[in-house]
Amino acid sequence: MTNRVLVAEDLYLLRDGLVHLLQAHGFMVVAAVESGPELLKGLVELRPDVSIVDVRLPPTFTDEGLKAALAAREKVPGLPILVLSQHVEQLYARELLADGSGGIGYLLKDRVFNADQFVDAVRRVAAGGTAMDPEVIAKLLASNARDEPLAALTPREREVLEAMAEGRSNAAISQRLYLSESAVAKHTASIFGKLGLAPSDDDNRRVLAVLAYLNSR
């Protein structure tokens, strides 16, 4: 399955690198833009299967990319977008997740170094899933440090929760934590019980429920 991708990044070297990386992994890059207005136009008109967007873009070099991404998703609900940035902020993560429709990613630019994981995240977002940077999740958990249901989780369950909040499926979690899939399923059921969330078999919906829980605190 080839995915149509849009890349928005103002630094030429990084843009070019991203395009090559994505092409090498079988994506079709339909547009590579370098400014906010171009990006918004591209997102709305081309409706790419997934877009990779830098937060800081010309002309203002503030949060142009993020604004364009939010505006586009308002017009085209659920348009899959993976936001890249030099720094991650809970504030931005919450804004991206606010519509609760999935198909959203928010990663540090460093994550591009690990091509396999990065491409995996792009595919997940394209499929309507989420990809949250571990650092965002760590900050979310740190700011919820005094939440009692969270404190009641065992260390193992906490690890599973972190991996789940990043947007990983049960299969991926079992691989990463060297657990069997059934063990992961057991842990997730227990986490949902402790946090008082309705269990769901659908991976994406499950992740969104966890993020909504963390964000609501």
Binding site: T62, E89, Q90
Partner: protein, 475 residues
């Protein structure tokens, strides 16, 4: 009434000190300048200043007239030269004592305040008895009049206020420079010890890879993975440094969202209420951001607080920030460097910080940065009080009449000897009074013009000068 009489009695009793002070002062000045007993001069000045200050304090307490001391700021202590000697004019000294004494002497001698005080002392012993009838009939009125007389000679002058502002600005500028320099050093250290060292390590790893790549591709690959991880760590480190210089959210979104982001990252439950119509200047935003950041982390770390409130609002052109937490309180600015660091940061904007932290909480820190917001936000700051505006308009509307027709034109008629008297008041008077009337009219008219120009100008100057150096209210 009775209290006013009591006060007047105190004032008159004060003469017991003033009267002998005059010959004593005269004697001391004579000895100082006649016999060269210069060491007496500072004592003399201090004695007169003491009396003047006592009078200022009494007037402040008894009437609404606030008499600001007019003295120039005291000279700073002498600074040693590179060779450890202290210089005073063309002489070098081993200890700072003589240069300090010289500076002090010059300061007391050249300060107009010293001589105005002396003039006040001499005249005061005459003025007080003269006012006695008024004191008896209308004691409250008399006290006020006396306070006004005191203010005339004891109050601050434009020059002394400016000098005070200059020395205040010098102090805050030095503080700001110091904290900037300290920050630069910290950043330099962070970059030197962290980022730079890590980059060197990555470079060395890559060098090793270059050598290994042909003989042992497997080991080279492992090293490359290590280099990649190291570059990731370097970036994390760099992000931390950048956050300390200028947080990205602040640059991207401004103060409101940056404070909201801080609130989210805090383990406490923080409520943020920001009411600003526009973004303040970048340096102000940064100072406020770091202050709030420091206060929130203090509350969470030392105060063990669970809830906090951050409130940022504009009060005219002043910016007011308050941070309240429900921690255990008892914060002491002298213990940690956090609060004094914030004070130093705010000092660059004349900002003040007030801490209220009773043991057991809650702790409230209020900061105010005067005049940091553009004035047009506030609207009517430039406006004069209504009576002044009305007076100026009336003056401009009527001043032409005495000057031109009743004054100059009547004068021309008089010189030409025209029979026509028209409505020129002066020409209807008897001959003897005509010229004085004409000249009087011109004088009145010119005086009115001058007033019409002076009132708005004086109002603006008052505004510029009321920016008194903000006092430290750390309690």
């Amino acid at each position: 009434m009775l209290r006013s009489f009591g006060r007047i009695l105190v004032l008159l009793a004060f003469l017991v000190l003033e009267v002998p002070a005059i010959p004593l002062t005269g004697l001391m000045l004579l000895l100082t300048f006649g016999l060269g007993m210069v060491f007496l001069f500072p004592w003399q000045v201090m004695m007169v200043r003491g009396l003047a200050e006592l009078n200022r304090r009494l007037m402040r307490r008894w009437t609404d007239i606030e008499i600001e001391p007019p003295y120039l700021p005291e000279p700073p202590p002498p600074v040693p030269q590179a060779d450890g000697m202290y210089r005073s004019d063309r002489t070098l000294y081993k200890t700072p004592r003589i240069p300090a004494w010289n500076n002090r002497w010059k300061w007391l001698l050249t300060d107009p305040g010293s001589w105005r005080d002396l003039l006040w002392l001499v005249l005061d012993v005459v003025v007080k008895p003269l006012l006695v009838p008024l004191f008896v009939v209308l004691p409250a009125r008399g006290l006020r009049l006396y306070a006004q007389w005191s203010e005339l000679l004891l109050g601050a002058t434009t020059a002394s206020r400016l000098a005070g502002q200059v020395s205040h600005l010098k102090r805050t500028r030095n503080l700001a420079n110091d904290s900037k320099a300290a920050e630069m050093r910290r950043i330099e250290r962070d970059l030197h010890d962290g980022t730079q060292a890590r980059l060197v390590a990555i470079g060395m790893t890559l060098g090793a890879v270059e050598q290994l790549v042909d003989q042992d591709p497997k080991a080279a690959k492992a090293l490359l993975a290590k280099a990649r991880d190291a570059s990731s760590e370097t970036l994390t480190e760099l992000r931390r440094v950048i956050r300390g210089i200028h947080p990205p959210v602040l640059a991207e979104r401004g103060l409101a969202d940056a404070v909201r982001a801080l609130a989210m990252d805090s383990p406490m439950d923080v409520t943020v209420d920001i009411d600003l119509p526009h973004r303040p200047d970048a340096p102000v935003e940064a100072a406020v951001y770091f202050a709030v950041s420091e206060l929130l982390s203090n509350a969470a770390r030392h105060g063990n607080a669970r809830k906090a409130t951050v409130d940022v609002s504009a009060n005219g052109p002043h910016l007011r920030i308050s941070v309240t937490d429900d921690g255990m309180g008892g914060a002491d600015p002298s213990k940690g460097t956090g609060l004094s660091g914030i004070e130093r940061r705010l000092a660059a904007f004349d900002g003040v910080l007030a801490l209220n932290s009773p043991p057991g909480g809650p702790t409230t820190v209020t900061m105010e940065l005067p005049r940091v917001l553009p004035e047009h936000w506030a609207g009517d700051v430039h406006k004069m009080p209504r009576w002044k505006t009305v007076a100026v308009v009336m003056l401009w509307a009527t001043a032409w009449c005495p000057t031109m027709p009743q004054g100059v034109v009547a004068g021309v008629f008089k010189v030409l000897g025209t029979e026509e008297k028209a409505w020129f008041l002066a020409l209807h008077l008897p001959e003897f009074w005509q010229w004085p009337m004409i000249l009087g009219m011109i004088t009145v008219g010119l005086f009115m013009h001058v007033l019409a120009i002076r009132i708005p100008a004086a109002h603006n100057r008052e505004r510029l000068l009321t920016g008194k150096p903000a006092a430290k209210v750390l309690c």
